[in-house]
Symmetry: C2
């Protein structure tokens, strides 16, 4: 084994052919005599030759790398999407570079470097409307957004059918006989939160229930904000009999705080979330929630992105996946 990596030319010399023939062999182009191919393959093996990804990228003008940008990499929902995206990317012959961007400025700098310097062939952006980030993505560059993008139909996106998931969650509570149903939302600037709020409202209206603005509290997806929401609700005149939290972490905060207040769940207060994170079934009581398949959202986003890169997919598609109800004891004793 030579101390410096061998190149296509070393192989060519060793096999007594031109470097181009070696290129043909490693690219499996058919036009090589079996005997020649064998000689080349022997040379490759004996030299331990491995083609350089960089040189290939250089010649092709492609990096075979995608990037995924999320607000952070640790939230279970985000990490699940990323994991799904990464698996699908690898299946399609790409690597996935994942980065977190806290704010619009970070995001912009990141995109600028990734896209401007052509480090990647395409971009997946999770939560495009979390701040102005949607706006700093360059035109004519393959991008797929993950998460609700309801107010712009001209872009590619994959997301949960948020409106429907919230509608179904609220319907579940209504079916159990609840009349005063509170809601803890995500940040209102995110389309995702707004869509879920829409679903909640539609369910109430369809059922002829009054909409009390005081029963809607804005959170930030964290358990702590769920706790704060519960405290705020408890200060109102009389408590709602059920709470729809727009995600499981906030539902956990609500649950925990309600218990601290001595409320019996679900008898005195029913709680439902969205996500179905693995720990949800270990909450006390186990949380009823709308299950969403986040890895699949990641996979679909990657598929769509690669389709866009290869122009095998039309310009913009919006895909919505559906959630389904997982009944546990936080809404009804017999839940499970």
């Amino acid at each position: 084994m030579p101390r410096t990596r061998s190149t296509i030319r070393d192989v060519a010399r060793e096999a007594g052919v031109s470097h181009q023939t070696v290129s043909r062999v490693i690219n499996e182009s058919a036009e090589v005599l079996p005997e020649t191919r064998a000689r080349v393959e022997a040379a490759i093996a004996s030299l331990g030759f491995r083609p350089s990804a960089i040189a290939r990228s250089m010649a092709h003008g492609r990096t075979n790398t995608l990037a995924c940008i999320a607000p952070n990499l640790t939230d279970y929902t985000l990490a699940s999407v990323i994991e799904g995206a990464e698996l699908e990317a690898r299946r399609l012959g790409y690597f996935l570079l994942s980065s977190s961007a806290n704010d619009a400025q970070d995001f912009h700098a990141l995109v600028d470097e990734l896209v401007g310097n052509r480090r990647v062939d395409g971009l997946i952006v999770i939560n495009p409307y979390i701040d102005a980030r949607y706006e700093s993505v360059p035109q004519n560059f393959p991008v797929v957004f993950v998460g609700a993008c309801s107010h712009d139909k001209s872009i590619c996106s994959v997301s949960l059918d948020d409106e429907r998931a919230a509608y179904d969650a609220t319907r579940h509570l209504i079916a159990l006989g609840h009349q005063r149903i509170a809601m803890v939302t995500g940040p209102v600037e995110e389309d995702c939160s707004r869509d879920r709020s829409d679903g909640y409202l539609r369910a109430l209206q369809e059922a002829g229930l009054p909409v009390e603005p005081a029963l809607t509290i804005e959170g930030d997806w964290s358990a702590t904000s769920g706790k704060d929401a519960m405290i705020a609700l408890a200060q109102g005149k009389h408590l709602p009999s059920a709470i729809f939290a727009q995600n499981d972490r906030m539902a956990l905060g609500v649950l925990h705080t309600a218990r601290d207040m001595g409320l019996r769940i679900p008898e005195q207060l029913a709680v439902i979330g969205v996500d179905d994170m693995p720990l949800s079934s270990y909450f006390d009581p186990p949380l009823t929630t709308m299950h969403q398949d986040m890895p699949q959202i990641g996979r679909e986003a990657t598929l769509m992105l690669v389709g866009t890169i290869n122009k095998t997919v039309e310009a913009c598609t919006q895909m919505k996946l559906s959630a389904h109800l997982i009944m546990r004891q936080s809404t009804s004793e017999g839940g499970n």
Copy 2:
């Protein structure tokens, strides 16, 4: 704006200099007349020129990309390490490619492609001993392992001081007066689990407490395995008065199951974990645990890796970070 990306030569032509001068400008090499520099910069701006990362990599023989391989990307501990690593990487001018590998075969294929094809300059491997993965990492390639590697001192690694964290956790229980302390471990093939077990044993022995093998149950880090462990313990002759779970998720499973069995916590059973994940303070009761700074482990690993790449750090270092006790109500009423 031309429809094809402009290159260093386009800029050179526009500015009336050689392409090499342009290269000097973008690399901030001092040897450029201010006036020339200004002309070049104007040309760069007017053409919207951005240097190609690939071409630079090609010329330099460096990708400015690192990879991090973990068993998965969703476990909070792993995701936190990755997030820390990614931030530090970016600070140092690298991108981080993170991938999950379920088993030894996946892992091997991934490393082979990443390293063999020179897609990255260095590798961070989380949980090197989860299976045979440590063995399939090539020699002479910059690698840093994250997680205990106690049985091989000849490699670079960053990890929690697992033995010490477990020792301290167990000491805490002993200090509260517990005499029969059970332990739920991670998979025994992982050094991390073994080191934590060692710490537990040392604390017991130092305190002169008997070691009952039946009180040690092997789990797999999941909440479900914590549940199973609790069930197994409940089938023994008499219950321990305290349980040390080697991570928080298993502690949650224990907690939840113990409550289902009607045990009062912490009066009848005290529980302590390791990790301090954000949700731990929302468990019922809030979980006493050993806090570890996982993002920092990631940051240190990246720092060490980049040091190895640049040969500014000596061949192998093993760094251990320490955990500290977070007292909550799962071990003592007045915990918080």
